[in-house]
Symmetry: C2
Subunit: 211 residues, 2 copies
């Protein structure tokens, strides 16, 4: 088993590795990146590191100040609220476009929903986050609009699902339950209804966010 590293250019590999670590929480919000330190770690020069950081900046994962460095963005309450407002309309419209859902997609949604309830019962925040992510993402994928998906994924770096799930850990069960009628509506092919439910759910989440 070797490093699959040399297939793509350094810049891309570094960007992906850093993003991975940011989303996992390996680098806490506020963490400062020092370009030459990263260069040393990845055994490259400063240039590819810089370019990777620039891309992460446009993606909204980090924040750069001229001559003052690059830091992992903190989950800002206002920004998180904005992200959820965007998810609300994006997922509402996706559900409308997603019907009729092929059986395979419904199966996969069902599986995530089951896992969601289990995770909520076990207070397993990480597992909950993962399956909530999958559930909602699948609906956006099913919209067939690639741009929707790209934007939705981009917004995830701001929505900080694991962070929110942690914050709501006491109410995971009720959040999970909110997903049941969404799936039912999709099974019935009632896209508009599923969309309204998704939107309502997202807005209720928004109301519970830290401020």
């Amino acid at each position: 088993m070797s490093q699959p590293l040399l297939r793509r250019c350094m810049r891309d590999q570094i960007r992906d590795r850093l993003l991975e670590r940011i989303l996992e929480g390996t680098y806490a919000p506020g963490h400062r990146f020092v370009e030459l330190d990263l260069a040393a770690e990845f055994q490259v020069s400063q240039s590819p590191v810089r370019e990777a950081l620039r891309e992460l900046e446009v993606m909204g994962a980090v924040d750069s100040l001229r001559y003052k460095g690059t830091r992992v963005r903190s989950p800002n309450p206002v920004e998180m609220a904005e992200a959820y407002a965007l998810r609300a309309i994006l997922e509402q419209r996706s559900a409308e476009l997603a019907v009729p859902c092929p059986p395979a997609v419904l199966d996969s949604l069902r599986a995530d929903l089951v896992a969601l309830h289990e995770a909520a019962r076990d207070r397993d925040v990480a597992r909950y986050s993962r399956h909530a992510f999958n559930f909602h993402r699948s609906i956006v994928v099913q919209s067939g609009n690639h741009l929707f998906l790209e934007i939705w994924e981009n917004v995830q770096t701001r929505a900080r699902l694991p962070f929110v799930a942690q914050h709501l850990s006491a109410e995971l069960a009720s959040c999970a339950a909110d997903h049941d009628p969404i799936l039912v509506a999709l099974e019935k092919g009632e896209g508009a209804s599923a969309g309204r439910l998704l939107r309502t759910f997202m807005e209720s989440l928004l109301a519970k966010l830290p401020r």
Copy 2:
């Protein structure tokens, strides 16, 4: 009163200049950027040019292939349709959030609308594009959601307004007329109605797009 230009780093200035030119059509779709040529033009080295191009790539304005260069993305019919589908929901929701509109904002919308009709009468596609851009953008700004605005602007690089305006040059007058009731609704504070009109307009545009 002096130019604040030297305050910002080269990379940012170059990125903005290139994006400007791409959106204006100075660089046609498919145009190939040669990093050292740009470096010579802007009197800088290759590095800031590269970083600017990387940012434009994440923004979706250009396309890069490893060792094969960076090109201005062509307006792909599918992608444009997706962009308009996104604008539709984004602007609909923005209008809902935008009311009540302060008088100053309504004034500026009125000014753009007047200019829009004039441009349509004169078949001045560039002017039409500019004011249509302003009109719609103002509504998104007025939503108060910064993320909406960021995404909306990002999508503009894909929606290629000038390109679409050119394509619809025969119908500019009727497109301009479609904007009148939107402004009326905003003036009355009827956000939901303005939103529906915007969405309908956007979807009618979508139907007229080249395929």
